[in-house]
């Protein structure tokens, strides 16, 4: 299997990573080498094998949906202090809806 330049652009769009034509071209070469390695998997018959998502097959714990932080107002201020742009406790982004 080998990817096309168009597929690289499409995947970069899905991943929200801006990519120039030149970058896409060099990326394409590397990705195809990596997929040649990955393709080794396709020769293996895995019919009836249960997919393994986690090393320990334990069910994820459930927990009650409650506030666990003891000082949410302070926490919000601490977390927003490191944001690129905030105002009145909100994160600012370019206008989405006209």
């Amino acid at each position: 299997m080998s990817l096309t330049l168009e597929q690289v652009h499409r995947v970069a769009h899905l991943a929200r990573i801006e990519i120039s034509d030149a970058e896409a071209r060099s990326t394409l070469g590397h990705l195809n080498e990596i997929f040649t390695l990955i393709e080794e998997m396709q020769a293996v018959d895995t019919q009836g094998v249960e997919p393994m998502a986690h090393a320990q097959d334990v069910a994820q714990r459930l927990r009650p949906d409650r506030i666990s932080e003891t000082n949410p107002v302070e926490q919000r201020a601490a977390f927003q202090a490191i944001a690129p742009e905030t105002e009145a406790g909100l994160y600012l982004v370019p206008k989405v809806i006209e």
Binding site: I38, M41, A55
Partner: protein, 490 residues
């Protein structure tokens, strides 16, 4: 003092032969002198470290304190530490001062350790040479024209040059064990779920596991005692009865302390792919193990040969999902120029991530996309099961599996940097252990051309105490681990 074990340092501190402030200052001075040649540390905050040391001294004066009270420890820059820059080796987080502590950081604080600094690493832990760091590569103290391994390369170089008594690392596909091998250290990746991942920046969540990088198995046991433990904030943390990982390390006069131990030698570890000089050292180590009383048995892990292929589907898939959070909105890097929200995302991510991280996000996005999920992601997860089943079968025939950690000694900076596939093959012997979720340790087993080589020991789930003992008995008889690089004496 730089040659003292953690236990010996703790004794010296408890007996007031040295203060934590003196010890911490000594390491800060060493970092000042030697770090410019290595680039092992990304952040050092002398005032903060000395304040912690001073508090530790006050505790020690009262005869109080935990197992690490007053001992300086360096942390891989993947662990969030409150008030410290936590970059994960990336431009994306080059301005990120963490507002909270990772579980590992909290546990070291509770044990009284002094945080000495944050260490360099491959960007988001994606690499085997530390060359993908936004902050530049780390040089191997054994030969500064060579890589220290990765992704925990800064931690490994720092311990090897004795710029810290010990350090933390994380291991997703070999990132503790491979740098340990390349820097003559002992590095342990625990069973998946033993150490909390809370506050440890996620790469591939079903594989990531934190562990210690130290100078000996005994030191790693002391460190794991602090690091391990249930944490409800990590949904995959395992709720188990706490254990003492150093419980099997007691002094013995038995000349054959490993009598009865069955060592499995997988034929897949001893075929092509390993350099002859590393293989020779591994074979010698196995001979030493027989002298210690162990028996060896040939085993087979037939699906292991597919581990690199399956890993480069599963790890990028999980990474593409985990790294979606870096969007230039809530924290981290934001591109200076953009017209709309989509451009803000696309440019912040294009400029904030390096080439290897972007490559893996693209692979992950592709294998999870519509029409390819079954052929790639599901197939990789099925192969993961086959690999885990191979180990389960093998552990019916043996107690510990032994082989090389890395197929070569430290390679030259730049040698593999432009060839991702060659770089990925640096981890052929370590990746299967992460896929199965097993514990693995790398220990020094000698030198080839002046460069250290590592022996890998793999155990069944939750057998860290036994692995550490098997490593410790070898180190008692073959003290390769005590050798250190020249040029770092002052």
């Amino acid at each position: 003092m730089i040659e003292h074990s953690l236990q010996a340092i703790a004794r010296a501190l408890a007996n007031r032969e040295i203060s934590s402030v003196e010890l911490t200052q000594h390491y800060l001075d060493r970092i000042d002198r030697h770090n410019p040649r290595l680039n092992a540390y990304l952040s050092v905050d002398a005032a903060s470290s000395l304040a912690q040391a001073s508090a530790a001294d006050a505790q020690l004066a009262k005869g109080e304190g935990g197992p690490l009270t007053g001992i300086p420890i360096a942390h891989k820059d993947i662990f969030c530490a409150k008030g410290w820059l936590t970059t994960c080796g990336s431009r994306m987080l080059s301005n990120f001062v963490s507002p909270y502590d990772a579980a590992v950081i909290s546990r070291f604080k509770a044990a009284g350790a002094v945080m000495l600094g944050k260490t360099n690493m491959d960007e988001f832990a994606m690499g085997s040479s530390n060359e993908t760091s936004f902050f530049g590569p780390v040089n191997n103290p054994w030969d500064t024209s060579r890589v220290p391994g990765g992704s925990s390369g800064g931690s490994a170089a720092a311990v090897a040059a004795r710029l810290t008594p010990a350090a933390t690392g994380t291991d997703t596909g070999g990132s503790i064990r491979q740098p340990a091998a390349l820097c003559n250290l002992t590095g342990l990746k625990p069973t998946y779920g033993v150490v909390s991942r809370y506050g440890m920046i996620a790469f591939a969540s079903s594989l990531d596991q934190a562990g210690p990088l130290g100078r000996s198995a005994a030191d790693c046991a002391t460190l794991l005692n602090v690091m391990a433990g249930f944490d409800e904030r990590d949904s995959t943390s395992l709720d188990r009865t706490p254990e003492d990982y150093s419980r099997e390390l007691a002094v013995t006069t038995n000349a054959k302390p490993l009598a009865g131990l069955r060592i499995g030698l997988p034929e897949q570890f001893f075929g092509e792919g390993c350099s002859p000089e590393v293989m020779q050292l591994v074979e010698s180590a196995i001979t030493e193990y027989r002298k210690l009383g162990a028996e060896t048995v040939t085993i087979s892990l037939p699906s292991m040969t597919l581990s690199v292929a399956a890993y480069y589907v599963i790890a990028p898939a999980e990474a593409s999902s985990n790294l979606a959070r870096f969007d230039g909105v809530r924290y981290g890097y934001r591109a200076p120029e953009y017209q709309d929200l989509n451009e803000l995302y696309c440019r912040s991510r294009a400029q904030g991530f390096g080439a290897e991280v972007k490559r893996r996000i693209l692979i992950g996005t592709y294998v999870l996309s519509h029409g390819y999920y079954d052929a790639y992601y599901l197939q990789a997860q099925r192969i993961r099961r086959l690999i885990a089943n191979d180990f389960t079968r093998a552990f019916q025939q043996c107690d510990v599996i032994v082989g090389p950690t890395s197929p070569s000694t430290a390679f030259k900076l730049g040698e593999k940097a432009s060839d991702p596939v060659q770089m990925y093959l640096s981890d052929i012997y370590t990746i299967a252990v992460n896929l199965a979720g097993l514990p693995g340790i790398s220990i020094p087993c000698g030198f080839a051309g002046g460069l250290p080589a590592g022996l890998q020991l793999i155990g069944d789930y939750f057998t860290e105490a036994r692995l550490l003992n098997v490593a410790h008995r070898y180190q008692q008889a073959n003290p390769w681990h005590l050798q250190r690089p020249t040029g770092f004496d002052d």
